[in-house]
Amino acid sequence: MNIHPIHCPNCRIALPYQMYNTDGPAHCPSCEGQTKVEVFPALYNGDSVPYGAETLQANEPGCFFHPQKKAVVPCALCGRFLCALCDVEFGGRHVCPLCLAAGKKKKKIRDLETQRVLYDDIALALAIIPIILIWGTIITAPMSLYVAIRHWKSPSSIIPRTKLRFVLAILLSGAQTTGWLFLFGWLISRA
């Protein structure tokens, strides 16, 4: 069994197991800082997960990718039979490597997404920050409007949030654009 030692986050010393799962914080033997260590069974179960796939016996369903191996579960997305080697479990579902790769590429599996662009924050920043320079808003206000309208339906943060930022960005940049239009109109009429 190969386990990581638990280190103090402050002084990086390996902590004795007497400090694990204590009722209150204990003191680190080196830096004497209050330390709380919570360990879970996974710490000791590193090698206990069975690995490999059983060879196919007569009248048993075979794996789609390895026909000589016994199928243990169907893919939750495409329904192909999978052996223990091809079965990828995450989020309580069993999927095949192909569906997993396709899902990640097309961003269809939310649990595989590692980054999202926050268009609502970009639109709001474009509507607010350039106000400091005033003249910059001639360019940034229409940009903010474009980003807000173009990405109104684009997925935002994984953490649910409202469209408030988009609404504020549209209101602010709309007001700025209208102001500029009035100013230019007035200047042209004077000329």
């Binding site: 402050n10 919570e38 590692t114 994984i158």
Partner: protein, 348 residues
């Protein structure tokens, strides 16, 4: 979408260190999902996600740090200094210094209110993830309490007897010739996410830097009373040496086991040294503009600059007093922390 998760916001927020942290502020937060813990790193325009499934989490560790105390001392000293300046200088400048004093007082109160600081990380079989959002002990303990039942629901409970027997068994297997472990900890660098071992640097450059900072403090105090070119030359020499050692220390502390306090002090000292150099160079240039005839000779200009009397120039006086206080605090705090760090290396 094949998976829909609802997330519950966990207490605590913090800034992720390293990389482009100085340019882009990466805010970190934790969210509790149905079957995983979600770490969200927000750069302002993008969000990066890291998921840790409850069944994979091996340990959650948090430790109280002294960063909060250091911040209290720094904010307290700055508040006191500005209160002193407010009392010494007359109107209308005292409005500015009293506002600055008020600002530092607010920061001090906010820091006290937020409670002691901490560091935390999460361990799985393949990674060790720092949790910057758990930078306050109060929040870290709260999060641990919230996460424990959900992780135990996914993995089962580990009793104290189980821990004892399994840890002893593993340690006996690893060190068959030695006495039962758990009594004497072994110093080892924590496995970082990029698997780089910590260097064995013991802080020699830092020691020189902190001593030079104390010297800078003494120089700033002397410069208030003595307006001689020799003092100016000495100041340039000490300041240049401090900048060089601050850069060397910043390079050497990268990847070492130095505590965060020393690392923070080194960066603060480097930034302040550079900032002060820019300010003093500005005063030097301003002196030249005020005396165009001295611009032809650099020596003459330096003479003029060194003859500036801080008692006649409140800005210069404020800058010198502030520098003396800052360098004294940074130098002495640095030496104390370094001594602690060195004894912890020697003691283990």
């Amino acid at each position: 979408m094949i998976e829909t998760n609802t997330y519950t916001k966990l207490p605590g927020r913090g800034l992720k260190k390293g990389g482009t942290a100085l340019i882009v502020r990466t805010r970190a937060r934790l969210y509790m999902g149905k079957n995983h813990l979600l770490c969200v790193y927000n750069t302002g325009y993008t969000e990066d996600y890291k998921r840790f499934y409850y069944k994979d989490i091996q340990a959650l560790v948090t430790c109280r740090t002294s960063r909060g105390k250091t911040l209290n001392i720094v904010f307290g000293a700055l508040t006191a200094f500005h209160v002193l300046v407010t009392m010494l200088i007359g109107s209308p400048w005292n409005i500015i210094s009293s506002s600055i004093a008020g600002l530092f007082l607010l920061l001090l109160l906010a820091n006290i209110f937020r409670g002691p600081t901490s560091k935390a990380y999460l361990l799985t079989a393949v990674t060790m993830e720092d949790l910057p959002s758990l930078c306050r002990m109060k929040n870290a303990l709260k999060v641990l309490e919230l996460l424990r039942p959900v992780i135990e629901a996914a993995q089962g409970k580990l009793s104290k007897e189980d821990i004892q027997s399994r840890s002893s068994e593993i340690r006996m297997r690893e060190m068959p010739d030695k006495a039962p472990a758990g009594t004497r900890p072994v110093r080892r660098a924590a496995p970082s996410s990029d698997s780089k071992p910590a260097s064995s640097y013991n802080g020699t450059f830092h020691m020189v830097l902190f001593m030079l900072l104390l010297l800078c403090s003494a120089y700033s105090a002397v410069d208030v009373y003595v307006n001689h070119i020799a003092v100016t030359y000495a100041g340039i020499a000490i300041g240049s040496a401090a900048v060089i050692f601050a850069i060397l220390s910043a390079v050497r502390q990268y990847g070492s086991a130095m505590p965060g306090g020393i690392i923070g002090l080194t960066w603060s000292a480097l930034f302040y040294l550079l900032f002060e150099s820019v300010i003093l160079y500005g005063i030097y240039i301003f002196t030249g503009i005020m005396h165009p005839d001295a611009l032809r000779s650099r020596g003459k200009l330096l003479m003029l600059y060194s003859s500036l009397d801080p008692f006649e120039n409140m800005f210069l006086m404020g800058a010198l007093i502030f520098s003396a206080v800052f360098y004294f605090i940074a130098g002495s705090a640095g030496l104390i922390l370094l001594r602690k760090f060195r004894s912890s290396i020697r003691g283990v």
